[in-house]
């Protein structure tokens, strides 16, 4: 099944969808930062940092995709092939590492890990995975496994609290995990499904944010 008629179209849609996800991740990060300023709780620090890294990672991934596109399309007419390819690898590495750091920060929050030594070890381990298991398949596999753990933890919260916001987060993590599973496959249909799941996942985060910000009853003086 052919969904994107050309590489240009594929890269263009990919970049637009990624930017949309990055904006939502930034919005969640800013909201979490406001909570951090009020509470001074470490949980919000990790959430702020996590969503910020996720947003930066997505943007880096998009730049990487553009560099990849340029390395194929443009460099035949100039001598810039190696430059674009190097840029593609650099930005893709940033995307892989930042995404894994972000997911790990969410794991720290959910599992209430506060040991700096453990955090440092996970940071090193993630960097090693990002650099040595650079194949995109392995990245998506590792990300999906981390997200499975997050699904389990957010699912526990949802079944305990049974409120709409926790269900939105639970579904968002499921969709993010699904997107990584789809991205493991090479066929174009899976790439399409991966993007749809990714955007939907971030949309669920966005809806949760809007619900907290606007829908809930405002406190007023009686």
């Amino acid at each position: 099944m052919v969904i994107f008629s050309s590489l240009t179209e594929f890269v263009f849609i990919n970049v637009i969808l990624n930017l949309f996800c990055a904006i939502i991740a930034f919005a969640v990060s800013i909201f979490s930062y406001r909570a951090l300023k009020i509470t001074h709780e470490k949980n919000f620090l990790y959430f702020t940092l996590g969503f910020f890294l996720l947003a930066i990672g997505i943007i880096a991934g998009s730049i990487g995709n553009i560099a990849y596109y340029l390395s194929i399309d443009l460099c035949f007419f100039s001598n810039t092939c190696s430059l674009w390819q190097k840029l593609f690898y650099a930005f893709n590495l940033a995307f892989v590492a930042l995404t894994l750091y972000a997911y790990n920060l969410f794991v720290f929050v959910y599992s209430k890990i506060r040991s700096r030594v453990l955090m440092f070890l996970v940071f090193i381990e993630t960097s090693v995975i990002a650099i040595f298991l650079f194949k995109i398949f392995w990245f998506h596999l590792v990300a999906a496994v981390i997200l499975l753990f997050l699904i389990f933890l957010s699912g526990k919260t949802y079944f305990k609290k049974r409120n709409s916001n926790s269900s939105l987060i639970f579904i968002a993590f499921i969709l993010l995990c699904l997107s990584h599973v789809f991205f493991m496959f090479i066929a174009q249909i899976f790439s399409y499904l991966g993007h749809v799941s990714l955007v939907l996942g971030f949309l669920f985060f966005f809806v949760m944010l809007l619900r907290i910000k606007y829908i809930k009853r405002k406190i007023r003086r009686k």
Binding site: F31, I38, N43, V109, Y110, K161, N163, N165, S166, R221
Partner: protein, 95 residues
């Protein structure tokens, strides 16, 4: 019962004022806030300094010094709204 965070205590105090139509006596606040007199004094001083609440004294027939009330300011109401949002976020993520 789990120990309340500082933020939760501030939320309880401001909410107690809101529930009393924006004006509350210190004794009621003491009861609603579930705090010792010393700790309540510290919290009230902090909230007053941050202009979230205002101390007002009304003349009383029984007392020479008058009755002391605390009212919530607009800044206090806004802050209460913000804490409410933070609590929603905390609950959503199950933190």
């Amino acid at each position: 019962m789990a120990r309340r965070s500082r933020m939760q205590i501030i939320y309880d105090l401001l909410n107690a004022i809101i529930e009393k139509k924006g004006k509350i006596k210190v004794t009621h606040l003491l009861y609603k806030g579930n705090l010792s007199h010393e700790r309540l004094k510290l919290y009230l001083e902090e909230l007053e300094t941050k202009e979230f609440i205002q101390k007002i004294t009304e003349p009383s027939k029984k007392r020479m010094t008058g009755k002391t009330f605390y009212t919530i300011t607009d800044k206090g109401v806004n802050f209460l709204n913000e804490i409410h949002k933070v609590q929603e976020l905390t609950e959503a993520f199950g933190l």
